[in-house]
């Protein structure tokens, strides 16, 4: 496979995963903005998902329609969902002969959907949840289309590597955002709504309830987001999947490239696996999340260098 093609497929998957993550995050946050008017603030999210200068972010303030407009549709916000979908589509366009026609059409339709005036009108005057739902729904359609139509070759492997790498980063990021909102101070015994919203955003609330029978504890949320291998958004699960798809590349890799990446992914996996993070150690938790993110970025950089030929 051409290095450029592998690169594009990888990024297409990353942008799509990021799109899904951002949309779900926005949906939960919007709902909480309607529910928890007292403590709610959009600022932590804006700081992470906007590349606008701090001044502009402050100006947007807590005005939900404005925030949604900025994070979803603003063409000038490099991290907006609109730009994510556009970039996913541009990448898909450049590799149209390596993804199936169905996947391309699905992405193309997604692009036309987010450009549709109705989405804008829904956000501003109608029900933003409806708009977000239709976008999330289309994202799921994409994942289904990939699963059903794509051949299980090199392209599919890069697609999944991109997807799980991005998902691991997102989960670590979202956890970090929530914990930052709480100043990493989790020793208060009262229930923390922020963590419930975190589970909503990661589609993990139902799993939590089933596992813990309504006993809501911050520590257990943390365990699920980091370590639960049955939870498709946990950092541990994502890394295992990442490694699984990476291993399939072995026969199609230069031996030295494979070795480099195997080392990096293996190290990241083990660092998560053999960590023992407790809420009481807020400094340790902060460092751990920081280190995990750095290792994930390191893996992405190594793919870029050893497999995509960009040094």
């Amino acid at each position: 496979m051409l290095s450029r093609v592998a690169d594009s497929v990888f990024w297409m998957a990353r942008y799509m995963e990021r799109t899904n993550g951002t949309l779900r995050l926005l949906r939960t946050n919007y709902i909480s903005s309607q529910d928890e008017v007292q403590d709610f603030s959009w600022q932590p999210l804006l700081r992470s998902y906007s590349d606008a200068p701090a001044k502009e972010i402050l100006a947007i303030g807590n005005d939900s329609p404005k925030v949604l407009e900025h994070l979803l549709l603003d063409r000038h916000n490099g991290a907006s969902v609109f730009n994510n979908i556009t970039r996913a589509r541009e990448n898909a366009r450049a590799v149209q002969d390596h993804i199936t026609k169905e996947v391309w059409q699905c992405l193309n339709d997604y692009y036309h959907l987010i450009r549709d005036k109705n989405i804008h009108v829904q956000l501003q005057q109608g029900d933003p949840v409806t708009a977000l739902d239709s976008l999330i729904y289309h994202g799921m359609l994409y994942h289904g289309t990939v699963d059903i139509t794509m051949a299980r070759g090199e392209g599919f492997n890069y697609l999944n590597i991109g997807k799980f790498l991005e998902r691991a980063i997102l989960s670590a990021d979202m956890l970090n955002i929530k914990l930052t909102e709480l100043n990493y101070n989790l020793q208060q015994p009262v229930e923390v709504p922020a963590l419930r919203y975190l589970l909503y955003s990661l589609s993990g609330y139902e799993l939590y309830l089933k596992t813990h029978r309504g006993n809501f504890q911050a520590d257990q949320v943390l365990q699920q987001v980091l370590y639960n291998d049955n939870f498709p958004h946990s950092v541990s699960y994502c890394l295992k999947q990442l490694f699984r798809y990476f291993e399939r590349l072995e026969t199609e890799s230069l031996p030295e490239s494979y070795k480099q990446l195997e080392f990096l992914i293996g190290r990241a996996m083990n660092n998560v696996k053999y960590s023992n993070i407790r809420l009481s150690d807020s400094e340790g938790l902060r460092n751990f999340l920081h280190q995990t993110r750095q290792e994930l970025f390191g893996i992405a950089a190594a793919f870029n260098q050893y497999y995509f030929g960009n040094s």
Partner: protein
């Protein structure tokens, strides 16, 4: 009459050949089709029209227009009414194009080697050497199987009596073939069952034929040579076509930066290192293909690829330097080439062409400018053109000045009216002018022409310009079996 409601307002212009209406009413080729659609309500027709647009949009068969910093997706206008050709007409066209291509191909071989045609006084040397598309680097280069014009699109038009004329030969990188294929796949969605009922010949073999020819050009003794399609990238207006063809042939779509040349061999950069490339179907123009030999500022090409080609390590399709054969001034010598190389009479006519480098021609043309089309010899896409009947005095004067300054770069042709075909526009069937571009594939086993081609249509009423850049659209083209 109620039953002909769709056709009620169809007015054929005088002295224009209409593809559907003859002097005895609807021509036999169209009868089946018309009887199938004439009773459809205008709502149903409009619905079909909208369905076609939606299909193009969702399949991403679009080109991007950049305005105010943001790309806007547009579809190439498609008219739902097919253009229909009968078997005998097609046979005539097919034979004519094959003959023409044979001669043009020998001409290219000759002009870049011994130049008998110049020595025998058939074509003036001055005409060839003054042609900006005569590529000196191609002189004495050995080309695999002596084939230069692997893929060509020959533009045909019909005069008021129905005679076919060749308007242009496109021998460099003709585009539009994907629209021939896509238009067909849209037609069977909007007119279910009509294709088999009319016994329309299939066009779907095109990618297979093309791939067969490309594979045959590989130089290495290898059962599975590497064939790639070289595209200028996603911002090229024909990018959709490049991806479609690469996908249909199952070959790699590469950009210039994906290829490197080492020791006169071309490699592509893959995740497992470098892999040698044997055949390149390039959609990058001559000027841009190798910055070391042609335009040094080109970012689209591959440095050193010309050397690899010259040494025979890679085959490039189409050959470089073909522009000398489809130059608009050289065009007027094609009938002479057919006689000279093949000793045959041309089957398809040329449009009479006046080279303005000849003073008598210039005088004649200036006196009859309102009946002439003036074209720049080196431009296409409907640019650099003046249609005398529609031009103002001022435009004519400025063309005259330009011609006096550089007469070699202009030719003149009498205005040929172009046939009209029915189009469904704004809820009614109206005649619009069309041309026809069949695509010919020249391989080691001979020439194949897929039955059909691209019918381009001037969607503006009264317009004679069918180019997509000038408001033209396209139609599906049926050849009946």
């Amino acid at each position: 009459m109620e039953e002909h409601s769709l056709l009620a307002n169809y007015n054929v212009q005088p002295r224009v050949w209409d593809e559907m209406f003859g002097k005895d009413g609807i021509r036999p080729t169209y009868r089946n089709f018309v009887s199938a659609i004439q009773n459809l309500s205008s709502d149903e027709m409009t619905h079909k029209d909208e369905l076609a647009k939606k299909l193009f949009m969702s399949q991403g068969i679009t080109f991007t227009v950049y305005s105010s910093g943001e790309g806007i997706e547009k579809i190439f206008p498609f008219d739902i009414i097919p253009r229909i050709l009968e078997a005998a007409e097609w046979k005539h066209i097919e034979e004519g194009i094959k003959q023409r291509l044979k001669a043009l191909n020998i001409f290219l071989k000759d002009i870049y080697n011994q130049q008998f045609i110049i020595k025998d006084g058939i074509v003036p040397a001055k005409l060839i050497y003054s042609c900006p598309n005569f590529v000196r680097q191609m002189v004495n280069v050995e080309v695999p199987f002596d084939i230069y014009t692997h893929i060509s699109g020959i533009d045909l038009i019909r005069d008021h009596d129905g005679t076919y004329y060749v308007l242009e030969d496109n021998l460099r990188t003709p585009s539009g073939v994907s629209y021939m294929l896509e238009n067909r796949s849209i037609t069977y969605r909007i007119f279910p069952d009509l294709l088999p009922k009319n016994n329309v010949r299939s066009v779907k073999d095109y990618p297979d034929l093309l791939l067969k020819n490309l594979v045959a050009l590989a130089n290495r003794q290898k059962s599975d040579p590497t064939v790639v399609l070289l595209t200028p990238g996603i911002y090229n207006s024909a990018y959709f076509e490049h991806t479609t063809l690469a996908r249909m042939m199952g070959i790699e779509l590469v950009e210039g930066s994906d290829l490197v040349v080492d020791n006169h061999k071309v490699y592509m950069k893959t995740t497992t290192g470098l892999k040698q490339v044997d055949v390149i179907y390039r959609r990058v123009d001559d000027d841009f293909i190798d910055p070391l030999v042609f335009r040094p500022d080109s970012m689209l090409g591959v440095p050193g690829i010309y050397g690899a080609y010259r040494t025979g390590h890679v085959a490039i399709v189409n050959a470089m330097g073909n522009g000398v054969a489809d130059d608009k001034a050289v065009y007027s010598y094609v009938p002479a080439m057919i006689r000279y190389y093949l000793n045959e009479e041309p089957i398809l006519k040329n449009v009479p062409t006046y080279q303005l480098a000849i003073p008598e021609n210039r005088k004649l043309v200036f006196e009859n400018m309102d009946k002439m089309v003036i074209k720049k010899t080196n431009e296409s896409g409907g640019y650099g053109m003046l249609i005398g009947s529609a031009a103002t005095e001022k435009e004519m004067e400025s063309f005259k000045l330009a011609i006096e300054e550089d007469p070699r770069s202009f030719i003149a042709q009498p205005i040929i009216s172009l046939s009209s075909a029915p189009c469904y526009i704004n809820g009614v069937l109206q005649p619009r002018r069309v041309d026809l571009r069949p695509y010919a594939l020249y391989g080691p086993d001979g020439i194949d022409i897929v039955p059909g081609g691209l019918t381009r249509v001037a969607l503006k009423e009264g317009s004679l310009v069918v180019n997509s850049s000038q408001g033209g659209g396209s139609k599906d083209t049926w050849v009946l079996g």
